[in-house]
Symmetry: D2
Subunit: 349 residues, 4 copies
């Protein structure tokens, strides 16, 4: 009777959840039947997320696995790392298709997970998920029941470097990723580090020297493409803006690796991938050009004086970096058009 697939959003009152609600509203095949949020349970959605006033009726509800499974067939879990695994296991046990936005199912090595995140609450499921970077995993995602949505930094970092690493256009030693993120990347919980007076008119790094937990995820994927382990130096910065990630990546050019060759390799890899736009050599993607869209803009340049390739990638951290990518994965998993609900142009300017 219903043409809709019913979905539940667990952790619907944070930014990832809010973005899922925004995008799902425009998705012709989806209907949101539960918005779960522990700390705001019982409040009207419109009070918690005023931009959705008039679009979503009803209240945020507390988590109840049976209720969720009764109301929806697909769950998006947007919970903190560590806390997510248990909820995912419960929902999977009730037969739901689950797209998990945490890091809990992204890695393939339990020891690496333990090192960076601590104990895993659903070890049986570890390694069962498909990694949801559609451009690299499209085939494995078809029909997938458990999908680990990549992190925002890994998405930006990998999309730019993947063609280079896969095609041997850069050396695997000495890859450096200097990333710049808007403040939504820090989540919705207020702190001095996101307090407008302190961060609204300056820039700073906030983790350096290999301490950010997205590092092993980047290494896992790029290492897989390269066919051998590799390590990257990753530095995230906080930029005074709300949305967007720009990843500026550096690698030593292999023999023959011109900017044109890198561009060509990217266009080859991303042929058939509507979410990736490969700009001409020397162009500089701007996060403003992908704001609120599911697109990634990538470009390549070569510093002929030093032999370095510079790969730049701009995404919206909440869309291609989180919620849009999740819907894109669901589209593929369900056999729908990959762009359903995630094809709107960017909000520019």
């Amino acid at each position: 009777m219903s043409d809709f697939t019913d979905i539940a959003i667990i952790g619907g009152t944070g930014y990832a959840g809010a973005e899922l609600l925004r995008l799902a509203y425009g998705h012709p095949r989806l209907r949101v039947t539960r918005i779960v949020g522990q700390s705001r349970a019982g409040e009207p959605v419109a009070r918690v997320l005023p931009s959705l006033t008039g679009l979503y009726e009803g209240d945020v509800v507390a988590f109840d696995a049976a209720d969720v499974a009764g109301a929806a067939t697909v769950a998006f879990t947007a919970l903190p790392h560590g806390a997510s695994a248990g909820v995912v296991a419960e929902l999977r046990g009730l037969g739901m298709r689950v797209l998990d936005l945490s890091a809990d199912f992204r890695l393939d090595d339990p020891e690496v997970y333990a090192e960076w995140y601590g104990e895993h609450l659903a070890p049986d499921l570890f390694g069962q998920a498909v990694y949801g970077l559609v451009e690299l995993e499209r085939e494995r995602l078809r029909g997938a029941e458990l999908i680990a949505i990549p992190g925002c930094y890994p998405t930006a970092s990998i999309l730019g470097l993947a063609p280079l690493v896969a095609e041997g256009l850069v050396g695997l030693d000495g890859l450096i990723i200097d990333a710049k993120s808007g403040a939504t990347g820090a989540g919705r919980k207020p702190s001095l580090g996101t307090h407008l007076p302190e961060v609204g008119e300056g820039i700073r790094a906030y983790k350096a020297a290999g301490h950010h937990r997205h590092t092993p995820e980047i290494e896992m994927v790029l290492g897989g493409l390269a066919g051998s382990p590799l390590r990257v130096t990753f530095t995230p910065h906080l930029v005074p803006m709300s949305r967007g990630i720009l990843a500026t990546a550096y690698g030593m050019a292999s023999v023959g690796a011109t900017a044109e060759a890198c561009t060509e390799a990217a266009r080859e890899l991303y042929r058939g991938s509507p979410s990736v736009v490969v700009l001409d050599p020397g162009a500089h993607p701007d996060t403003g050009w992908v704001r609120a869209s599911n697109q990634a803009f990538v470009s390549y340049a070569k510093d002929t004086r030093t032999g370095r390739i510079v790969a730049q990638t701009a995404i919206d951290n909440l869309v291609k970096g989180t919620a849009g990518q999740a819907l894109q994965c669901l589209n593929v998993a369900m056999g729908w058009d990959e762009g359903e609900g995630v094809s709107a142009p960017a909000t520019w300017p």
Copy 2:
């Protein structure tokens, strides 16, 4: 054969034109067949408007009325005040439906136009257009062939004050509108007044004391609702952000005019108007809640100590204030659902 209505955008490389392109892309009944822009003619759309890379192929073209009329049945003219009238006349003469985003056809008194804008280049058409504020003019817009899209400041100012003026809830003397706009309102032409270092971290008024040309438009509409002429004190401010207008309007409360009564009057007036959200008394609409959406959020408060009503309205100046409103008007004129292509939720946060 084609289910699409073909449209041309004249002045497609400024912000209003770009926003029309963004929204038209998601409108299921429209197809853009010409993007006209004099100063960038011959350049690929993607170079002029990089956020549309991959979405619109082809080049910006120079204006040629016959070519436009051959390629489309509807034209949106997004040209400077004064320059628009001649183009509109030409396109109307070729039988096109025209939605004009300039001020050239908004006013109903040619002397007022002359006083604020100078000579009118199509005096025969003056007064022929329907004023495109859908919430007030829905019936007259059905089938309309020439529509004058309201200004962004008038849209914000009128939507908040209309219920009060129409229902006699405020006195007609002494209405004050203190408006705050993002920098897109100044257009795409660079100047010191929009140069990031000079305006990116401060606020200032830029016209005071009745000198802004949107003033008579506000007075015309509100005076019409009131049934007698009125004057407003209007002060626009530039806020360090890209999009959004907040209009804070003040009027002396009539007897019995509580915040609740004002709210109720607004809900009555805007019943059946999906683009207006009337918040509960005392709420404060935020331009961030309507970013990139076609919604207007309005609220009412009463200062019981001074007897003043405070009406607040937040819109996105480029959407409900310009391009979204234009599409909404076209929907009504064509007999389509009013929300087609302009119902996407706001880009928040």
Copy 3:
């Protein structure tokens, strides 16, 4: 032996305290001997306020009245409203000169205080302080031992309106003050209302209709100048910037009250006041022009169509609105040059 006057800053780790430290560093007669901050006691100043690294050695300390009074002769109390009165009383009891940045000693009517702030913890001192708006109270401030530093909104509001009210250039009924503030005005405590993603790219009012506690302070001072009680409609807005307040005030022009007459009245009133710059009629002061300076820029315009006077005032809320004004008061109280330590030009752009 020492040419310095030793000062203590109570509440030194918030923005008002930090700004006092910044300005005191450049004041040739002051030496900071205690920085008191309850929640950060025991931490190095440089960790709590990194911009002062290398300028202030030592730790933040917990409050101990005897210790403070032993180390300094002047105390600046930058504590929350309500909490300040008790500390002020204690320090006054030990003979210190106290400049209080809270609202606890600004008002002259204990019933008004009780209505807006609640119980007062030092009722014996109530009414004993000199109100520290130097431009209006310079004479009474000489030698003053207890000074109530005005609020940031009252400073901006009063400086623009004082000449008009004092000279009868506007009617006393219907004064409206539409104020726009940077986020430092909300203090250093993180909350959703100052969380960069939610407020960094939009504008909203946050109190309307006479609910802001600075309202009675404005009315007290302006009423005093007018010689009769008056009420104002005051609406504060949050602007996406760190510092600055712009107050746009509206009043009905009296007969003969041109923009020039208002400007002249202001120049007369502020003759000999180095912190106030009266711009030519029609100019629009920008908060960017007073950033980090102790200056107030004011201007006047008249809407001849409606008979309204528009008075605009721009200040830096942390300097002329708080810490700079406090040092300016101390200069006058001590008989020093009024501009000592608070004469640096604005940080522009």
Copy 4:
């Protein structure tokens, strides 16, 4: 009779000139006697630079070398690269001490200059200037009559890397500098690239792959310290803020090069340099901490997983990166205290 040294500012209406005026106002030994600006000649200083209203009287004047030399003994030339050399030569010929803020006298190799900047208009003077990075050239600056003030990017880049290169703590191959600048770095001339709507809420690189003209300056200084030529990969980004540069630099750690060793080397090199603050290992300097101050904050971290050293440097591009550094140089050249007029704490927050 006069204790003041009279100075002239050539190019006084751009941002570098305005910043010199701001700082010179607070310098106890300087008096500005001429403000030269070709395009705004004849206008009052206060109209061109409103933040200086009431501080500088008189008009901007057109350039007249004899007039300048008659009115001042020291000239600061803040003119475009290429245009500066001729003016400098003229003023030097009249016996003035000149501090040149352009790139015209920074480089030591005329062929490199020609490659990056074109023809030099005063080849006889080329190589005669002392490079004004005080921390490295303090001795040579004493008494210097012609000083080339370093670029903003080189200042930030060099201060962080100098200790590492000088002490052999990083390899000379493969140095990467990823720099992020506020928009004042682009100057005062409006363009789309600094138009608030297009750049106010996004980040992008604007030169990549060795095309920025500050590159050879960085290489010259670091190569000099290393004792052998080296090349760097330099990428500048535009950040949505007015002031500030953050340089994140990467190099391969030499044996034994811990974060602590790097920090210690920096503290050793900058002992006696009041403008450089070396933070503890792992700290992240924020451009907000040095806003409007002449300080550079540097820190070091080591990514032990990849063997990379990450050197971070934050400066205010207009102060330590331009005008403050120029005054600091003058102080040294004249034998005054190095911190005169450039010791004010940062404007934070």
